[in-house]
Amino acid sequence: MGQTQDFLSLSGLNTTPLPEPQRGQLANGTTLVQLDLPNAPVVCLDFWCRAGSGVEGPEESGIAHFLEHMVFKGSRRLQAGEFDLRIEALGGNSNAATGFDDVHYHVLIPPEACGEALELLTDLVLQPRLDAKDFDMERQVVLEELAQSEDQPEEVAFQQLLKQSCLNHAYGLPILGAREALLGHTPESMAAFHDRHYRADRCCLSVAGPLAALELDALLANSALAGLKPSERDVRPVALQFEPGEERLELPRLEAARLLMAWPLPGAADQMSVVGGDLITTLLAEGRRSRLVERLREQLRLVESVDLDLNVLESGCLVLLEAVCEPEQLSAVRAEINAVLLGLLQESPSDAEVDRARRLVGNGYRFSLEAPSAVAAMVGNSALWGREHNLQSPLDWLDEWDGRRLGQELVPQLQPQRAFVLEAVPA
């Protein structure tokens, strides 16, 4: 047991070389990307499309997500429920998620059933049936999903934070949609949305897993993907509008107060900034020795938790902070967070601190490469948005940041006066 391997030294981490994604394109312009993971027990097929809630028109609130539900109600060739039944009978499972920028549908499947799953998935997603009766039933399900999220006061608070700070930008609107708008949608309006956005140049299929013997290329060329038309006009994400400010909100059913803060950062196209954002948020709030956790939870004991997340988005990334505390501690919590952020501005983080963050980010990234679904999502999303770096690149970019550069380029963007601050207290 135990083996010797040739190590490549990067980031102070010993690493094995990462596999290279194989890129391609169908004749109609649909993007394909495949990544071979010889030891994985399953294959992940992940279909991505630039059809998140961000491209909804004024009347279309919630339609991108509603469509994602309707897709599973069958296609021209598949009955409602048939897709799930066949995939699950093959020992696989499937799911989907709608974001602000994009939507993706994924299937995990044993390798021997991959070809059949590919045919089923592309057929399902590209030729939805949108039956009127199913449409009404599924609208009920979406309304239940909305009600369920509105019963979680924390989600209500986050929704308010985005609404207040992102002005009229799509990121300020709920992905699930507004209730009245959902009631107004029709199968026809949904078909129009599908036809407008599910186009060859706006779609990508990503496959990760043990691919060596599968010979997917011919299958892909003959799949429903090949029948996609190109877009009639190019729709690009609109730059994020963001306004700092503050708000206090009383929420029923809240048991602990929340301090929420949001900051804008450059969009996902600026991958160097994204990596820097990962580093600075980790340095500030991941682990007991991170600045915010150490100060607010461990030393002063003002909070139950403090989290800081980088949400990577096309129009502009959002850094979101959440501190959970007693209502009477809110102002002290806020003052301490401000002091920590200001402190970073006055003195750049130390090498040891940056190294700690670099290892946490680098390992988190490497650990995620173990699961085919995470890999397929990562390379699929990158390919969808025309980012052609390989898996190694983010680790290399980590090495380009040091304390001084973080202090000069990112810390000033995350100062209190640039944030939208929302205090939510129990009503």
Binding site: G2, G91, L360, F367
Partner: protein
């Protein structure tokens, strides 16, 4: 049974060590499963196991809590200690190269934790705050209520985080006593990934040649359920009514547990599952519907859960109760059973994607005193089960369920009326 790449050893002191060699990504996952979780909390000290778990990483051996956090986070590793009902689990995930530095922590944490009063105070306060905050979630409220209906004040009757009034009284003396008992009920350490050359040497480092005294966990009866149908309701000002319908069954590995697991697959796994299709696809009653059936050493709960808008409380409760009744009244079809078996096999394959998943599943099974290849045996045994076997298991184990409701007054009244008139409620 011998599996390629698997080795069983024993550490000085008696702890079994299982090594699962998984070359590829240079990752190591180690899981130390110690018998005796929250079910072992004495009455009056409920919350003790979880409190101790939280404090174990706040200083051990020669390292203070800060030194330990510096070491772990400085290597970008993850270290978690958590108490569940039947066991306390310590999980380490790191780059294989860091094993030399980090593996020595595992047994030091359990054999010589510092248990500093100040750190206990902090951890206790955090757990109390979490218990309070959990009440924001109507699912949690309904679940806590159901737990009490199913187990009363028995060992499984409380959240592993504890009971507020009792947790508030816990301090160093109680944790000291709890530490002395750690391992007496047995423990097992499972490591999966790219393994170090001499794991025993690393694991015993810093123990002053003493080893840690324990033995392999054996089969033994666990905590019992009350097995008495009941109704309980909690008023909450929500949009939805949360319904949980459940009973207590038997331990992992008991005679009819596998038949029940297949019923779980039939009812609640995937979008082709019975509850999903009946309640969501056919009636649009819910977004989230499923079955909760965790592995337990004692009487495991078997629970249907659903949340539906208040104005649909009648239909939702009727349909949910009818689904349960159907299990008692007639066997599922051969076709449904075949699908359930495919899902069971699929779940097994999907649960073996990462080193952590593999180590976790084996630690759980071994911690329950079951053989290493228990999951593989189950896959074989499942093939022989018939619809009648599943029906017999349902009739033996799923009689007289309890209904737990959480939501607004009107909806609760409606659901209570349905319950009072339903044939399931014969008790």
């Amino acid at each position: 049974m011998r599996t390629a790449g698997v080795e069983q050893r024993e550490l000085q002191g008696g702890c079994p060590l299982w090594l699962i060699d998984r070359p590829g990504p240079a990752i190591l996952s180690a899981k130390l499963w110690i018998r005796g979780g929250s079910a072992a909390d004495p009455n009056g000290q409920r919350g003790r196991s979880q409190l101790l778990a939280g404090v174990l990483s706040r200083g051990c051996g020669r390292l203070s809590g800060e030194n330990l956090a510096d070491l772990v986070e400085g290597r970008g590793a993850g270290l978690r200690c958590e108490a569940a009902e039947d066991g306390t689990l310590i999980s380490l995930k790191c780059a294989s190269d860091d094993a030399t530095l980090l593996l020595p922590l595992l047994l030091q944490m359990v054999s010589s934790p510092w248990l500093v009063e100040d750190q206990i105070t902090l951890e206790r306060q955090l757990n109390l705050q979490t218990l309070q905050r959990q009440k924001e979630d109507p699912f949690q409220v309904a679940h806590d209520q159901l737990r009490h209906q199913l187990y009363g004040d028995g060992p499984y009757g409380h959240d592993p985080l504890g009971v507020e009034a009792e947790l508030a009284q816990l301090g160093q003396p109680e944790l000291q006593q709890c530490t002395q008992q750690l391992g007496q009920g047995g423990a097992v350490l499972v490591m999966a990934g790219q393994l170090p050359e001499q794991p025993e040497g690393l694991l015993l480092e810093g123990l002053d040649g003493q080893g840690w005294s324990t033995q392999a966990p054996v089969r033994q009866p666990g905590a019992l359920g009350l097995k008495r149908g009941s109704l309980a309701s909690k008023l909450d000002d929500t949009e939805q009514l949360v319904l949980m319908l459940g009973t207590t069954t038997g331990p992992l590995g008991s005679e009819q547990a596998l038949a029940l697991r297949l019923l779980h697959c039939h009812l609640g796994i995937g979008m082709s599952s019975r509850l999903f299709v009946a309640l969501r696809e056919e009636h649009g009653l819910a977004y989230d519907v499923g079955v909760h059936y965790p592995a337990r050493l004692g009487d495991a709960p078997f629970v249907f859960h659903l949340s539906s808008s208040s104005d649909r409380a009648k239909e939702a409760s009727q349909e949910l109760l009818n689904e349960w009744l159907r299990l008692l009244e007639k066997p599922i079809s051969e076709e449904q059973l075949e699908l359930a078996k495919a899902k069971f096999r699929g779940q097994e394959a999907l649960g073996r994607q990462t080193c952590s998943q593999i180590a976790d599943r084996h630690a759980l099974v071994l911690g329950h005193g079951l053989p290493f290849d228990f999951a593989d045996q189950c896959l074989i045994e499942a093939e022989a089960l018939t619809p009648d076997d599943l029906h017999q298991a349902a009739k033996a184990l799923l009689q007289q369920p309890c209904l737990s409701l959480c939501g607004p007054d009107e909806a609760i009244k409606v659901a209570e009326t349905v319950w009072n008139q339903h044939p399931l409620n014969r008790g």
